[in-house]
Symmetry: C2
Subunit: 447 residues, 2 copies
């Protein structure tokens, strides 16, 4: 028997003015602490009690801050961070065909992917994000880069009907997908998903192959879906069905599906998604900037669909700011639903944390601050002028906080950002490297 | 004759990696300097040339930053900054009648106005804003507070059909308006405007009195207009006309009018506004959060209407972040116009600077970086990870920059923010005071 008086050793005790655990829903715990050991949350309890119960190797005290689950960015193309602002304010076709694709064709390489992901990780950590759902070429390089930086990620295994720098044929896409999946199976931080690009770039046979393999390997399917009205019209032209109906015919409308964008939805489609357990990743700023349309976020959430939030790629957004994205999701939902009570602050924060974790199948390990989960945490300073007076903690977090107010971030209990400083990344080197990419990309554009 | 070789003395030379003057439109000047003397911009010229031509008393060198005109927040209720997040996610009527109005009734006073405006000024300066168009009670206290802090403001003189803490009768509203106007006439920083509250709170007689006095005193008229569908429907019920038609009958649809919100507009109304020289202040985040609707910002701008941007009050927004607001305006305009090229980055920055200055009748003195104008300037660091690589300066400013990247701000040549530090304001004292207001307001709410 252990002595009830003897404090228990643990790696870390984080004491915060406020803890917002997300689960239970709608709760703000004042003057609470989170005890962490071996990367895992041991307990969430009042500070005084925590001091009596634990003998931590390290105590981090943040009386003016709110501790929240690390944010989950549920849709990214992080290598494209190197293309931030390279082309904006253009119709989608011109943007892709005259700018993004020619640049990518000239610069895409393992080095581009590694450097883009590294820049993205630094930006994400400085903004309280601890996990991404990634979607780009060279998933092998991505996985290694996230792992090296101790960052949690679900890595998409791309499938697309035409040859790219990553693979030249259908078989090569699937073979390489299998290899990357094999290599990272069982990793504590990095997992994989199938990432067929979109309904208009993947044929029926490839979708069926994705479905079969995803079932066999028990993987999610990460897919751009119903992003634009044009996509829906084109599908009706080519397949005689809207994309969701076509995917249903192919057996993909199920609880493996992570459906990204979803700006064009009928009532029946919303209810089908709810029934089948489809998760939806809402990327409001990308949808607005590319004039794609409005995702009915509130209607989806009210129907029972798991709602997650993603920034989309930096080439179209142009940042990885999940505070800004969550805020946009929360305010846009109200006008789209014609209801000022739609997607309230607690619901929006939930979508940005637990919603993302659920969508990508990580909710058993992250997404809330609960005993037994991984210690993926962000500590947000609320003492700044910009978040005073502090009438309501979660309102401030969602509606008034800038991501620069994130002071500390942990992933699996490892301190990744300490008082705004990246613990084990060379920020100056990353900026210098981004500047070199700027020159290389400028050279491509003028050549 | 002056010796062409002898450098000219001046107060200040600001050297920046980039100067974005806004006028001429679409221009980014690399490695340029702005010379300032007596609060006025003398010249905008290449750094090397500036060093040869001027002998400044002070040189500020910011090679990694962009110097832009100070942002103009064209619609605020800054005393309400003390109500940040006090009630959110509620239908407008519940929000006003059960939360905001009871709290205001209990706490509104000259001290509330002074302290709210002071907190707002600190927040605005830290976000690159140098000028506001203000709309609240106790304009006398507001004017004195802005003036004391050397902040530029157009102060609304409230007119509303019911008694408030500021005035008890129609005559008292107009008498006090005249007094406040008289007191500040000719001030270099603070001017006034009439601010009849809204079509549903001001009767025809009071609107006619506003029109007559605004003509006599040569003042703008700052008005919430066509904010919601309900406002339009109510006007048709009560007056048999939409609010714009009613105001046209009353002689107010003209180039004095600063029309705020404007989410409900017909084609004909857009063209009427363009013809008559009405300015529109777009408050996209407030409109979204209160589920008011979408202002057709791009259609207005394309019709030739002067488009300005405002945050609205912090009780409904919940911040005074003009970087965020401008970004939201730029991305939302694209989906509303169904055109990804709508309100491009240069046009959005123009709306947030020169557009605001024009709307409130300050464009002869501020809104661009041009010789002869007041030196109201903001310097924005672009070296952070979050704005790298730097492919396009104005894209980064509009789509990727956080307001915390504002390093320096000047108003009329006076340094107000220096490397993120408020020069002549006590930030800690302001936060401490906000915390006291939090306790007072909490006491009201539970009493």
């Amino acid at each position: 028997m252990t002595n009830p008086q003897a404090p228990q050793t643990c790696d870390l005790l984080i004491e915060a003015g406020f803890v917002v655990p997300v689960e239970p829903h709608g709760v703000v715990l004042e003057d609470h602490a989170v005890a962490v050991d071996g990367g895992v949350i041991l307990a969430v309890l009042p500070i005084a009690e925590a001091r009596a119960r634990y003998a931590p190797k390290e105590t981090v005290s943040r009386p003016d801050a709110a501790l929240i689950p690390g944010l989950v960015n549920a849709h990214t193309h992080n290598p494209m961070t190197l293309l931030r602002g390279v082309a904006d304010d253009l119709p989608l076709k011109v943007w892709l065909q005259q700018h993004i694709w020619p640049i990518e064709a000239a610069v895409i390489s393992p080095a581009f992917v590694e450097d883009g992901v590294t820049l993205a990780i630094a930006e994400l950590l400085r903004g309280g994000v601890t996990c991404v759902n990634e979607n780009y070429f060279f998933p092998d390089v991505q996985a290694a880069t996230y792992r090296r930086h101790g960052f949690r990620a679900r890595i998409g295994l791309p499938v697309i009907d035409f040859p790219t720098a990553w693979a030249k044929s259908d078989d090569e896409y699937f073979d390489k997908a299998g290899e990357v999946h094999d290599q990272w199976r069982g990793d504590p931080l990095v997992a994989t998903a199938f990432a067929p690009h979109a309904p208009y770039t993947v044929n029926d046979a490839n979708f069926e192959r994705v479905r079969m393999l995803a079932d066999q390997l028990d993987l999610p399917v990460h897919l751009h879906l119903h992003e634009t009205a044009q996509e829906v019209a084109q599908s009706i032209d080519e397949h005689g069905q809207r994309p969701i109906a076509r995917l249903d015919r192919l057996g993909l409308i199920n609880d493996r599906l992570i459906a990204v964008h979803m700006t064009q939805l009928t009532e029946a489609e919303i209810h089908l998604c709810a029934e089948r357990g489809v998760s939806v990743v809402h990327c409001p700023e990308s949808n607005l900037k590319l004039a794609s349309g409005f995702c009915p976020a509130c209607a989806l959430a009210r129907a029972g669909v798991t709602l997650a939030i993603g920034t989309d790629g930096v080439a179209s957004n142009n940042d990885l700011d999940m505070f800004g994205e969550t805020r946009t999701a929360a305010i846009l939902a109200k006008t789209v639903a014609d209801d000022a009570a739609a997607l309230d602050a607690f619901a929006a924060l939930r979508a940005a944390t637990l919603g993302g974790a659920k969508a990508i199948g990580f909710d058993h390990i992250v997404g809330t601050i609960e005993a037994g989960k991984q210690a993926d945490l962000a500590c947000v300073d609320l003492s700044a002028l910009e978040t005073q007076p502090l009438h309501h903690v979660v309102s401030q977090l969602v509606y008034a906080t800038g991501r620069h107010q994130v002071g500390d971030v942990w992933i699996a209990g490892r301190h990744k950002l300490r008082e705004r400083v990246l613990v084990d990344m060379d920020a100056a080197g990353i900026v210098a490297n981004a500047r070199q990419w700027r020159e290389r990309i400028a050279a491509v554009r003028t050549s």
